[in-house]
Symmetry: C2
Subunit: 273 residues, 2 copies
């Protein structure tokens, strides 16, 4: 199929230049993996959008129904579906208008999925920090300059992702993924109450781990904590649970017998729940 | 005249939905006051755009010539001219493409200028903080959610602006203005090396004050410092130097004999230099 963009349900590739998503970044987005026409982690994606809009001052009712109505039936293809919701066309003033008509943008593109290598990937350590802002922390809003600058720090195609720290030096995540590590059989992930994005695969992992009786400790950690870990992995909606083999001279355990692999297998079973 | 939008020199009101300005906020903007067809603080606006693009990873040569060529001759009207430059249409990946074609958006609207009241205005104290990010500090980029949330804290039309603090409690500026205060004949303004936007009127004021031999101290200050001040004023490209009469129960000196008024008069003389 050809790439397709739907704006408020209509096939068009253009957006009003006065959209508040453009002028201020007042919007949220999520990118959904669609395999053979079936969307993965739908419930988590819709929940993230719903909560994000409300937090940014433009609550929308029943986001899932709106997006489903736009979509109709997805072709039985492998697709990337990016859904963006903004506060709509509005004044040039920063104040959110009392009356607003949100804009829905669906970008649907064919996607050739490549499984992450079983031997694990390499990570970069980003210098660009993530800023601390408790009110915006966790939301996948459109103010993504920090990730853009961080992702531009390396061009080596062998490096898959980059670890990001907040301005106080705490590990928060990666440029487009969340991060987890295993030490002495315990699973850890950064506390996201101050900075960062709480991705949908992270949410799914936390839920699944809870069902399996595996506690995931949400902690404030520094680089030294990653260096002390036995396993390291990153998660996102497209790569699932992706094992890390090396980061900053440190090698990590990968493959059979690791908790990373166990969680990867477990997650793969709940992608359509 | 009717509102007019030019995108890359063409009259159109729509933008590609895959523009990096929309997807990531990878762009800068500035809003220029045009009086009877003459743009104010042109040199400062163009310098801000030029520096901003470079800092965000998409340097553009001779921004001033590009924008001037788009404009042709401005009608002899009072206008608001918003210029936005983005990294252009690009991939969904956060990494800035090596090859990019920046997008220029000019939004030209009739504008009915109203002089700020001579008796001064009231300010709100915003709860929404500004995050600390030295690499992005000072730039008027498109990641403006913090200002949007802060501006939504009050609806009282008598309150003209809101003071914003960084996440450590230091005064940084207002939602769409910079802030200055006078104590014992000395002029102060917040240090913007960690957070905030360095506006064009602020830049013009610093230059003019220097020419007049008035030192402006760039400092890390808290609310208590504002409360201890004799005069308080905010600056932006549209209202110039705007005296503040009250903020958080504290009253400030306004009118004749104040340094605020002297600077207001001085600035009015250099708007077209």
């Amino acid at each position: 199929m050809q790439p397709l963009t739907l704006i408020n349900g209509s096939a068009t590739r253009t957006l009003a230049s006065s959209d508040r998503g453009f002028n201020f970044g007042q919007g949220v987005s999520t990118r959904i993996k669609v395999v053979a026409g079936k969307a993965q982690l739908w419930r988590f994606h819709m929940q993230a959008l719903q909560q994000g809009c409300a937090a940014l001052g433009f609550p929308i009712n029943a986001v899932d129904k709106l997006v489903k109505r736009d979509l109709g039936i997805l072709p039985k293809a492998d697709l990337s579906l990016r859904v963006t919701l903004t506060a709509g066309v509005g004044s040039n003033s920063a104040a959110t208008p009392v009356e607003y008509q949100p804009t829905r943008v669906l970008q649907i593109e064919p996607y050739n999925f490549v499984e992450p290598p079983v031997e694990g990937v390499d990570l970069w350590l980003c210098e660009t920090p993530l800023s601390i802002h408790p009110r915006l922390a966790g939301i996948k809003h459109l103010n993504r300059l920090e990730q853009v600058l961080a992702r531009s720090e390396w061009r080596d195609p062998h490096i898959r992702e980059g670890v990001m720290f907040d301005t106080q030096g705490y590990v928060i995540g990666a440029t487009a993924s969340n991060i987890f590590w295993v030490q002495s059989g315990q699973v850890y992930t950064p506390d996201l109450s101050q900075a960062g994005v709480a991705g949908v695969m992270r949410a799914a992992l936390l839920e699944r781990a809870g069902q399996l009786g595996i506690e995931v400790h949400s902690v404030r950690a520094r680089l030294a904590d990653l260096e002390a870990a036995d396993e390291l992995f990153v998660t996102n909606a497209f790569d699932g649970v992706m094992a890390v083999k090396a980061c900053a001279q440190k090698q990590y355990a990968v493959g059979s017998g690791t908790l990373t692999q166990k969680l990867r297998t477990e997650l793969a079973q709940v992608l359509y729940d």
